[in-house]
């Protein structure tokens, strides 16, 4: 049972990991993108649209490569576009980041539900959902020999490729931020854009690129959720508040992508732990659902109490930068 629990926790955690890695990259550039829930939603629906159209046009026989490639590209384009909107508003036009982010979340969820509803209507099915099982099967494909390796295979090798991508991306992001020149530059943009600017770094370019890349990564979380976790079944609002959990996870992992890997699994576990404790009523289950947020608050309390400078959010997070401001 513990093996099954870990497996489920990881699967719950992967969308959060994508979301938080993307948000960490974004926040390191000083952009507080609260549009992440909306962007993940858009990433999901874009993939669904791509898969839906491909399944329809290809009839019964799907090409495995295209079945994965088309939804993936659609998802990337969709969330990159959202990131671009956010950057244009906050970096170029210097709009308030919180308002823009929240607007994007509302907008993204609206877009997702609109297209979701439209697709459901096209299929003419009675159920309020879209079924993309065929595409999903390709996404869910895991290593064939994983089942032969007992608990080890189940815990470590039984996931689909996107889950490993999530972890690899997080590790790369961590290395990028800590060990590379570009990562150093990016961090300085988030800490003190005036310093970065005076050091000859193109602040706006860094903000744009990191926010768009961050959005794409977060959007993959939406895609993973639909295609893998939900087995290719899209239903409106099915994504829940995972987007906010991803934002909370950023704080939990004190802006470190590698910590976020562990954090996401922990959060995933906390989300489903109520299923594994026997004898819980519906109301107590809801209380258990709050656990990730409670943990985040506790982490916030601790990091502010310890006042270690490295564990604080980037100093200019949420502020826009204009060079000739006096």
């Amino acid at each position: 049972m513990i093996v099954a629990f870990i497996q489920r926790a990881v699967m719950q955690g992967i969308p959060l990991l994508f979301g938080s890695t993307g948000e960490i990259l974004t926040e390191k550039s000083g952009n507080l993108n609260l549009g992440i829930p909306g962007i993940m939603y858009v990433g999901g629906i874009s993939g669904v649209i791509g898969a839906f159209l491909y399944e329809r046009s290809a009839g019964g026989n799907l090409n495995p490569f295209l079945a994965i490639f088309i939804p993936l590209i659609c998802s990337i384009l969709g969330s990159a576009l959202m990131g671009l909107i956010y950057c244009f508003l906050t970096v170029t036009l210097r709009a308030n980041q919180n308002v823009t982010g929240l607007a994007l979340t509302t907008f993204g969820v609206g877009i997702g539900n609109f297209f979701g509803g439209s697709l459901i209507k096209i299929t003419g099915s009675d159920l309020p959902s879209i079924n993309l099982t065929k595409t999903s099967n390709y996404f869910k494909a895991s290593l064939p020999f994983a089942d032969d390796l007992g608990w080890f295979g189940k815990v470590f090798l039984s996931y689909s490729f996107l889950a490993y991508v999530a972890i690899i991306v997080a590790v790369i992001a961590s290395y990028f931020l800590k060990r590379t020149k570009k990562g150093l530059n990016l961090r300085s943009v988030g800490e003190s854009p005036a310093t970065a600017d005076a050091a000859g770094i193109n602040v706006n370019r860094y903000k744009y690129v990191s926010t768009c890349v961050g959005s794409v990564i977060a959007g993959l979380g939406g895609l993973y959720y639909v295609m893998d976790y939900a087995c290719g079944v899209w239903s409106n609002d099915g994504f829940g508040d995972r987007g906010w959990l991803a934002v909370a996870l950023v704080i939990f992992s004190i802006w470190k992508p590698n910590l976020s890997i562990l954090g996401s699994i922990l959060f995933g576990g906390l989300l489903i732990v109520h299923n594994y404790i026997p004898g819980l009523g519906v109301s107590t289950q809801e209380i258990f659902q709050m656990l990730p947020y409670v943990v985040t608050i506790i982490v916030l309390v601790f990091t502010s109490m310890r006042k270690k400078r490295e564990n604080q959010p980037p100093a200019s997070l949420g502020l826009s930068y204009f060079r000739e401001e006096r």
Binding site: T180, R187, A196, A198, I201, R326
Partner: protein, 515 residues
């Protein structure tokens, strides 16, 4: 001997909106030379240097480097021309180590390796006699260490032209001496150094040439060895201009406010006010002159009860009751109710005293909302007051409901000063009330202050323009690094006298003088 100028500026002009920050400035620095740029606050020194280092872009004029005309559009361009600027407000990332800050933004051929960079930082430090630990985090550093990091940063980039913006403002005399030694060493290595300062003795001790700016205009360049403090002061503050401000004799002045030996330190333990004592009399305008940041703000805030004092007392002779109160025991609200009013116009104007997004009426209410008895706000009185101020002071605004933020700076100041005066204070402190105002609005404020003086108010006026101080005030107190260096009678003083008091320092720093 004809040497080619390392950097030369010709007719540089820069405006911000309607404010002219630099007008037709020409400068020339040779290799192996230290040039001081001298000027009062707001004379455009920093703006000028920001244009050389690519932060701002000039409206007109040309920049030549080694005789070739160049265009510097960004800090990156400036690096490519081997120009490095050490800003007054350090441009460092707090959570990075020294080495990380130093290599920030550099494009190096080899793979990024912070340890190698740290090694190179160490080499440069040894070469010039710096003492820094490349792996130390900036937030653990003292101010002088941070400055060292800034200097190493530009040297690491191979800068040949170094610009230092008020480098000594934050240093102790010993640290200053050390810095000067390093700068001389760099000069001897053939680097060009431009140093911005308003401290005369430093100019004389360090530089080869001095360029003087006054109110954005270029006054001239002189060889340091051919000049003296008096001449420089004159260039800096300008010839006396007659302003024709009406100045009545004080009417039976009595002591209103007695400040006795107050001391004040900031959280780092640096003295902001050092044994300050003075008396402010009713029916008199006491001017306070000094270079910005010499403790004016802290002094006024101490009186208003906003600053915690370490020692000393502030005695207030209450004209209504005849009693003597010690303001140190009172809360800011109690002090205000006694009739001690502060109108401080900070650099950003809206920072203190007014709320930008609220309209004029609501800003009036900030001072009076406590008086209301009922649950709801009474808008009638503040509305009347707002309208009166708009009319009396000729505030240009669509109506009293316009957010203060949308008014021009001058109008904002009129509202701020007007509101404080409206409460018929017994002590009125006005700090920089004419900052950024045109002549007409300034005169309106001067007249307001004069009227208060006639009414027997003790007016304390902190000003920037020495001409105005000399014309408007009855007595002028000069503050210099938190210390009072003199109180002079404004009727029998000269700008030069005040200027010298403003820049006078102990001989300690001068010891690092000419070699």
């Amino acid at each position: 001997m004809e040497t080619k100028a390392a950097i030369e500026l010709k007719n540089i002009t820069k405006t911000f909106g309607s404010i002219v920050a630099n007008k037709d400035v020409c400068l020339k620095v040779n290799r192996g030379e230290i040039l001081s740029i001298l000027g009062e606050n707001g004379s455009g020194k920093t703006t000028l240097m920001n244009m050389i280092s690519g932060i701002y872009f000039p409206d007109h004029g040309q920049i030549f480097i080694d005789g070739k005309e160049v265009v510097i559009r960004s800090p990156k361009d400036a690096f490519n021309y081997r120009i490095g600027m050490i800003h007054q407000h350090f441009k460092l990332v707090d959570v990075f180590s020294a080495a990380e800050n130093i290599v920030l933004g550099l494009e190096e051929e080899q793979k990024f390796d912070i340890n190698k960079s740290a090694e190179k930082v160490r080499q440069i430090s040894e070469q010039y006699g710096f003492d820094i630990n490349p792996n130390k985090k900036i937030y653990d550093m003292s101010v002088s260490e941070k400055q060292t990091v800034e200097i190493v940063k530009v040297l690491y980039r191979g800068a040949d032209i170094l610009i230092l913006d008020e480098p000594t403002a934050v240093l102790t005399p010993q640290e200053t001496k050390k810095l000067f030694k390093v700068l001389r060493k760099m000069r001897d290595n053939g680097k060009s150094i431009i140093i911005i300062t308003h401290k005369l003795h430093e100019v004389l001790a360090l530089s080869d040439k001095v360029a003087v700016l006054r109110k954005g205009e270029y006054i001239g360049t002189v060889e340091t060895k051919n000049t003296n403090e008096k001449e420089l002061t004159e260039m800096m503050v300008g010839k006396k201009i007659s302003l024709d401000i009406e100045r009545g004799e004080p009417k039976n002045p009595t002591d209103r406010l007695e400040v006795k030996n107050i001391n004040c330190v900031n959280f780092e333990g640096v003295k902001l006010l050092d044994n300050v004592s003075f008396t402010a009399k009713s029916g008199e305008i006491l001017g306070i002159a000094g270079i910005a940041g010499s403790g004016q703000r802290e002094l006024l805030e101490s009186i208003a009860g906003l600053q915690k004092l370490k020692e000393g007392e502030i005695l207030y002779n209450n004209p209504k009751t005849g009693e003597v109160d010690n303001l140190r025991d009172k809360t800011p609200i109690q002090i205000r109710d006694l009739g001690v009013r502060l109108s401080f116009v900070p650099e950003d104007r809206l920072g203190m005293g007014l709320v930008g997004n609220m309209d004029i009426i609501d800003n009036m209410m900030l001072r009076s909302y406590r008086k209301g008895k009922s649950l709801f706000l009474n808008r009638k009185k503040p509305k009347g007051l707002a309208e009166k101020i708009i009319e009396d002071l000729e505030v240009v605004t669509p109506n009293a409901k316009t957010p203060v933020r949308r008014l021009s700076g001058g109008n904002v100041q009129k509202i701020l000063v007007g509101r404080e005066i409206a409460s018929s204070p017994s002590v009125l402190m006005a700090a920089y009330p004419v900052r950024g105002l045109d002549i007409n609005s300034s005169y309106m404020i001067y007249n307001l202050l004069n009227k208060q003086k006639e009414n027997g108010v003790a007016v304390i006026f902190v000003g920037e323009d020495l001409d105005v101080l000399v014309e408007l005030c009855d007595r002028i107190m000069v503050i210099n690094s938190g210390r009072i260096t003199g109180i002079v009678d404004a009727r029998n003083t000269t700008k030069e006298e005040i200027g010298l008091l403003m820049t006078k320092t102990d001989s300690l720093e001068n010891q690092g003088g000419e070699e």
